[in-house]
Symmetry: C2
């Protein structure tokens, strides 16, 4: 695979100068077009040791307008990184639309190092590469342009470069201080790299192999490749615009298809006054202990609350948060995204709040807005919401793999009960803020929401992140049921029972 | 001082219920008005042990619309916190305008604990309280409402509460696991608290002492106090609006007053081709080593670049960043603030980027925009920009106290040289993006900028964060001078010479 990076390509000094002048002008022009385009560009800089990845990054910063370029290295992680799912730091580094993020090594560095050090099996590497492919596809279909560079050279050239480095103080220093040295294992590393590249060289996020022995050739090749990639995308824009689609969710035209998961719920469930008080007290006491135990065990918890309007989310959440020490949880109220959020993939604003080890995050509404309100109201295109089931399952799998306990609630009420609560809200002073015209409008689409909820639960209730569907006509029954599910999940995760 | 918190105030159960209903309605109303007002509300929750601070926070979250409330605890810091100036985490927790941030302990917790543990002297405490006062004033004049609660009770009541806690599993757990126990030192802690409160009970950020023995009284008192504080502010809005002031900067009407710092610069400084190449190479090599040494020593560096338009900032910055390993620095290009930034104090967006220990942040333009472009163009009111000299000095002092090496550059060119460069930019393709109509407009205000620069350097060049003013007509001379100043500062900080 790397034959073409050992050709001995060179660029002369004078030629370089002339070409650079032209290239810079074009890069700057293209950056300006990019800024207006809404395309985020992710540039991954990888390759064999001593290929000069740092120098390439410097060059890009030199040639481009740095106002639109952000550089990220992932080599010295903080405990804020370590205590979260692995991809958290990459999400952190996502450039906003119209800008360029240059990522050192990116998501390829760790799998390469782990495999070289014998810390991961072939199977694990395989799985990781599959994850990467998913991740890159997700970013791409959302409109991102991903440009992956691999810098390579022959073993002889690499040796020569190392020799030169060791004579040159400055460059020697520029090497990582405690970096794993793979140079003694040229052949093995090359084999591994070939495999990684081959399996992740998808059409949507292609690898560009660059011969790195001659630095002028290397830098020009990078600059021109990047320029072409961006220009090509700008000249052939993807249609990622959010067109207001009005096609409503519907079920197959069969009488029995109209019966959904929600119809199977026993909506008459209730609880007596005495039982409620007793159980609430018991469960809150237990939850308090479990939350501290989770803190000590460094296990995080993510609770997701979705439900019918007026379904009792707020009340149920309060019964949780009242039980947990306020130092241990955060509640995230999902409202309209800020402009920093809007400029990125829709999952970005949820990744932001993923808790550190041992904490709990309670999401009051969540990423499921994509397949509920955004689907029903047509705020997301069908292409967008329909692919998000998969994206959401991947996201939750990553959370779960990082040891996070994920429980999701759908609090369901009947249409009649909703009407009663809406009316009650309108006449109760401290509840009036909870009822808006939007609620009434949503109510008109009750049937469409039922279909959307049915699909959502069907497609995203997984072993590692199950949906708990709760009949909520009796608020107190629902609260106890929520507390039971949360304590059960924590107990099982922490004590195995 | 605490006599009024030992009166034995109580609220009956029925009375509580009735009052809460009314209070909640009013709180919710007021929150809605608050959202439109642009006032950020900062609530500090402090007090003696076992006063139920966590319970109070729960109550506030229960009574208010949590969409506008964020709670922050500062008890389990990450290395991301530890590796930055102490106040970084408080800046992180600043609520946006129109919302409420509830801060557990806030900036009072640490000084109290340190003094109780004998880890800080009286003098140090004094200094810390003075800093707090400055900090709160800064937030207040920017429009924030700061409401500080201190929960207190008699030693007897505290003992009774501890006893009760020890019988009650759930509440026992709700105690901090490794919390410093000050209860054995009731009298000493009370004396300390009195002193802290007395010295920080300023009119702009008053303390509210709340009797905490009866939880119903405590919670109602908090709710009503907060409600009144917010209502009062909303009924008496501060004028913090940014009115476009057109008064230009000017110097005293004396002929010799027109001579500024900038006139003293020797603008003929230059460097030969050979010297430039040699020095550049030497200095970049040294800087590369120093940057790694700083990383190892966990000393951060902040470099600030300001200067005339076309003064050569970009080129000088590149000579720095080319020398430093790209894993160690970030360049922050200061452009228009995002909406998340606009919703907070103007320093917030610079605090965001303060580097972790051992890293370097290069600000291309900076917080000095406040006293330069915002002053000259009237984007900030005179009240705003004139108080910011002090705020900036405080900010930089905090950076410096945390061990960060701060160096600020003003790259100056003559008006003639600027004209030459502007024209050159207009005809050089890869430089055209650097010249805009705004540059030409700014140029018309050259004299006003000179006065603003003169004031800025005069008032903010400090021992711990000096301005280095560099004659930049010869770009290469300026680059070498910048590199010399940076290496000198790092060398001095790391090697003491």
């Amino acid at each position: 695979m790397f034959e073409a990076t050992k050709v001995g390509r060179k660029v002369g000094k004078q030629d370089f100068k002339e070409q650079v002048t032209k290239l810079r002008t074009e890069l700057l022009d293209t950056q300006r077009r990019l800024a207006d385009s809404g395309v985020p560009v992710i540039v991954l800089v990888s390759g064999i040791e001593a290929a000069g990845k740092g120098e390439v990054v410097d060059r890009l910063n030199e040639w481009m307008d740095t106002r639109g370029v952000q550089t990220w290295a992932f080599w010295d992680e903080s405990d804020e990184d370590r205590e979260r799912p692995r991809y958290w730091r990459f999400w952190n580094a996502m450039p906003p639309r119209g800008q360029i993020g240059v990522l050192f090594g990116g998501w390829y560095q760790e799998p390469l190092e782990r495999h070289m050090h014998g810390k991961c099996s072939d199977k694990e590497l395989e799985a990781e590469l599959a994850r990467i492919e998913d991740f890159e596809r997700m970013l791409s279909v959302d409109g991102a342009l991903i440009v992956k560079f691999w810098f390579h050279m022959s073993e002889k050239d690499q040796k020569a470069r190392f020799k030169k480095l060791s004579r040159d103080d400055r460059s020697r220093w520029s090497m990582m201080p405690e970096k794993a040295k793979f140079s003694e294992h040229y052949a093995r590393f090359e084999r591994l790299a070939e495999r990684v590249i081959r399996e992740t060289d998808t059409g949507i996020a292609p690898w560009y192999l660059i011969e790195a022995a001659n630095t002028r050739y290397r830098d020009l090749a990078v600059g021109k490749t990047l320029l072409e990639a961006i220009k090509t995308r700008l000249d052939n824009p993807m249609d990622t615009s959010v067109t207001h689609t009005t096609r409503s969710p519907s079920l197959p035209n069969l009488p029995d298809a109209q019966r959904t998961l929600l119809d199977k719920l026993d909506m008459d469930k209730d609880i007596s006054d005495d039982d409620y008080k007793r159980r609430l007290d018991e469960l809150q006491g237990e939850l308090n202990e479990l939350a501290w135990a989770a803190y000590k065990a460094k296990r995080s918890t993510i609770l997701v609350f979705e439900g019918s309007d007026a379904g009792g989310k707020g009340g149920a959440i309060r019964r949780i948060t009242n039980a947990v020490d306020s130092r241990l949880y955060r509640t995230i109220q999902v409202a309209a995204p800020t402009d920093e959020e809007r400029a990125r993939h829709y999952l970005w604003r949820f990744w932001r709040h993923v808790p550190r080890a041992g904490r709990m995050t309670v999401y009051d509404r969540s990423w499921y807005g994509r397949v509920l309100v955004e689907r029903v109201e047509g705020f997301a295109t069908e292409a967008q919401w329909s692919r998000s089931y998969y994206e959401i399952n991947e996201f939750e799998e990553e959370l779960s793999e990082a040891g996070i306990i994920v429980v999701k609630f759908w609090l369901h009420i009947t249409k009649e009960e909703q009407l009663r609560r809406f009316k009650e809200r309108e006449v109760t002073p401290h509840k009036q803020h909870k009822i808006t015209d939007e609620d009434w409008r949503n109510r008109e689409k009750w049937d469409e929401y039922v279909v959307a909820v049915n699909d959502m639960i069907n497609r995203t209730s997984t072993q590692h992140a199950p949906w708990v569907v709760i009949p909520g006509n009796d608020k107190r029954y629902a609260r106890v049921a929520v507390l039971e599910a949360v304590t059960r999940a924590l107990r099982k995760a922490l004590k195995g029972k």
